[in-house]
Amino acid sequence: MAAVPSRAGEPTDQVRGTIDRVLEILKKKELQAKEKRAERRALLRGEISKAFDFDEMAKRSLGPPWRQRTQEERKEYVTLFRQVLENSYLGKIEAYQGEKIRYMKDSVEEGRIATVETFIVTGKGQEIPVNYRMVKERTDWRVYDVVIEEISLVNNYRSQFGGILQRSSFEDLLARLREMVKASDSGSGSRKEGR
């Protein structure tokens, strides 16, 4: 089936809605203080969970090894992966400094896979292409991959995880993910608060 390009349809509305609500949370004066960080992050996590299908992202990021893993192993892996991703995103979102988002277009294939093309325009005028790959689940479009400058988030993790699994074991991969979660939890205290 051919891709149907459209100016801005449902998938774009979904992305735009999430980004607008996230920016609203960031701009709330009552949440800017350091003490409010946990509350602010809980709100941000809530918005992001709605827009991102972490289960699908985790599965795709593990690649072929996913098939051999048991239900419990998959569950543990997905939980850790989700935390790694959330911490990574939260850090970047909290570093927001007024960048503008330009929505270009979206295209839908077979009614269920969409690409939303956007640009992040930095203060210096740099335009960074960010494409969201989304899948339609019932009535909602959810993101399963983010491609920045033609580099896929899923592929990035897939090669890293593949390398780790090649050299050692699945247990080692889980340990590595736990380390990453710990590192980002302790490191995030140094983030600049407010603007």
């Binding site: 891709a3 690649g63 072929p64 740099q126 400058e149 033609e150 896929s152 899923v154 592929n155 897939r158």
Partner: protein, 149 residues
Amino acid sequence: MNRKIGFETAVGIFIVAGIACLAWLSLRLGKVEIGGGNQFPVSAEFASVAGLRAGSTVEIAGVQVGAVESIGVKDYKAVVRMRVHGGIGLPEDTIASVRTRGLIGDKYINLSPGASDRMIPAGGKIRETEGALDLEGLIGEFIHGSAKK
């Protein structure tokens, strides 16, 4: 007279053997596939394929598993048709990337297999792709950015 005929025959045999060796060598090095059946066609769209051409290799884990057949343009995107050795299942979430050997070498397509249980059918499309990195552009942005400081 006999010794001369014997000598010439020996030379003839050596020449035939030499040519046979050359033929074998060129077949091996040229990767000519005799009876290249069992080829599996798939296509993929990229934002840019800068430098990829018909005949460029398709690889999985650094091993050649196929080659690019043709490259066209559709809706301002590059459409690449390639053939992959049959018998290699490509899960639906396989990611095709245009990569470069070293930093400025030949372009090739790397396939990263996914986790899906569903396989891409023959003649199907690899939906997840990463186009060629615009190295000059990135360098330009770096220079451009630092100039503004």
